[in-house]
């Protein structure tokens, strides 16, 4: 079956596009699918670092598009997950080195060989975003539960609809349960009420993500991590399985209940 192209985008920077791309792709590859990730963030590439493949880059996306190498030569195979490949972005060029139709052509060439093609979009709504969205079959928008990130997500969803790449699906990243409970953070419901799109996943805040990103080992490969579990659930949902959303409640021990009780008592 030809591959589905999934573009992960957000508008705002730093909300977790690259982390989500790396982890969902890794989770699908663990489950046995053949996956390729394309880093469309030309000039500010990160996906190679998050996947721990930086030192193996020889050719990149721009080399393929400009014909300096064959597509195969630019594909880096992950040693831990032999079914996971990366096409890195060029670091020394900018977004204008690639056009939307180049991306469509590239994906069409990859489609017959893979089950999933992931595109990690750059932040912003300009050329880089248009490159990333052009070949998409499924558009995934990722946001944090913050007003500014949600505003940008809304804008991006509008642009995706205008390009007829909708309906977009939503991932809410870095949810802090205790802050939501105190009313200091937007809840998933608040975000969904404004954006009114289908939810694909909820990722809890997890320090393990920072550690794994620095080490270049996707957190989705860590069986104990809660964020890793959330990413694996997203992978299952993309495979058409029905997985309930993570119950984001903290395990409430005696002390945390006591402290909550005291807080309420104190007003």
């Amino acid at each position: 079956m030809p591959a589905k192209v999934i573009t992960i985008t957000s508008g705002k920077g730093g909300v977790g596009k690259t982390t989500a791309t790396a982890n969902i792709a890794a989770a699908l590859a663990v489950a046995g699918a053949k996956v390729v990730c394309i880093d469309a963030d030309i000039g500010l590439r990160n996906l190679d670092v998050v996947l721990g493949l930086e030192n193996r880059i020889v050719y990149d996306l721009v080399d393929v598009v400009e014909g300096r190498c064959r597509l195969r030569q630019a594909m880096i195979r992950d040693k831990r997950l032999p079914e996971l490949y990366l096409i890195p972005a060029a670091q020394t060029r900018d977004k204008s080195a690639v056009s939307p139709s180049d991306m469509v052509r590239l994906c069409d060439e990859l489609r017959p060989e893979f089950d999933w093609i992931f595109i990690d979009s750059p932040a912003g709504i300009e050329r880089g975003f248009r490159n990333a969205i052009a070949p998409a079959d499924i558009s995934v928008v990722i946001t944090n539960p913050e007003v500014s990130a949600v505003r940008d997500a809304d804008r991006i969803i509008g642009l995706i609809e205008a390009e007829e790449k909708g309906p977009a699906r939503l991932i809410i990243n870095r949810i802090k349960t205790d802050m939501v409970k105190k009313g200091d953070m937007l809840s998933a419901e608040d975000v969904l009420e404004l954006l009114a799109v289908e939810l694909l996943g909820l990722i809890p805040e997890d320090e393990g993500v920072i550690i794994s990103t620095n080490r270049g080992v996707p957190v989705a490969l860590d069986g104990k991590s809660r964020a890793g579990q959330a990413f694996r659930n997203i992978a299952s949902r993309l495979n058409g399985e029905h997985v309930p959303f993570l119950e984001l409640e903290e395990q409430s021990g005696f002390f945390s209940q006591l402290s909550r009780f005291l807080r309420k008592g104190g007003g």
Partner: protein, 222 residues
């Protein structure tokens, strides 16, 4: 036949009555024949009564750019074409309207004609500008803008910026099922929305003795 006029801003392409596809073919035939002559020009398109959707304008813009032509404006008698062009950030008139034109527009508004229906949620970054009434069947999210010479009616949550009576009509009103705009303007008055207490309810905002007031829409009192 597509006609061409030279204007101060560059070229103006005038479409013929009929459907878009025929006009498009005629247009590119004409452009293709004299590529070097057109090269680098700024193009405004007057669609007249021909209806063109957003996707079609977008691909027209892309195709024209291959001939080094820049599409910057789409003029049209069709409101849906005007709205589509605005969503893409294109101009929908050549220059600021003359004084008498403004008056002509207000007359249209008072006649109760000239309304555009937008059958979807307006998300952040969308701007609708229309010389008549604007009706939205959906929400208006923060970061979206509606500027209307007439009334604005939102069948949904209104949280963006709206300006009713933008040409100076003090009789204009803004209605919404949940009226929580970032900023509300009627004619030359501006107001911010106070924090709402209690449940959302349909409200209507209008000018009362030069003051902007929002009142609950209560059927019994009418």
């Amino acid at each position: 036949m597509v006609r061409v006029k030279g204007i101060r801003e560059g070229l103006l392409f005038l479409l013929e009555e009929g459907d878009w596809e025929e006009n498009r073919r005629a247009l590119f035939k004409m452009v293709g024949e004299r590529q070097e002559f057109w090269r680098g020009a700024k193009v405004a398109l007057d669609s007249r009564t021909v209806v063109i959707n957003e996707q079609e304008i977008l691909s027209l813009k892309d195709e024209l750019s291959q001939y080094h032509l820049t599409l910057w404006a789409v003029l049209s008698e069709s409101p849906s074409t005007q709205i589509a062009a605005q969503k893409l950030g294109l101009a929908t008139r050549l220059n600021r309207p003359e004084k008498e034109e403004v008056e002509a527009l207000s007359t249209i508004v008072h006649d109760g004609e000239g309304a555009v229906l937008i059958n979807k949620t307006l998300r952040s970054g969308y701007r609708v500008e229309y010389a008549g009434h604007v009706i939205v069947l959906g929400d208006v999210n923060p970061g979206a803008e509606i500027i209307a010479a007439g009334n604005i009616i939102v069948w949904g949550r209104l949280r963006g910026v709206v300006h009713a009576g933008a040409e100076g009509d003090t009789q204009a009103v803004v209605c919404a099922l949940d009226l929580q705009p970032t900023q509300l303007r009627i004619a030359d008055q501006i107001a911010l929305t106070p924090q709402r207490k209690g449940k959302p309810q349909p409200e209507m905002a209008r000018l009362l003795d030069g003051q902007l007031v929002a009142e609950p829409w209560n059927a019994k009192e009418r």
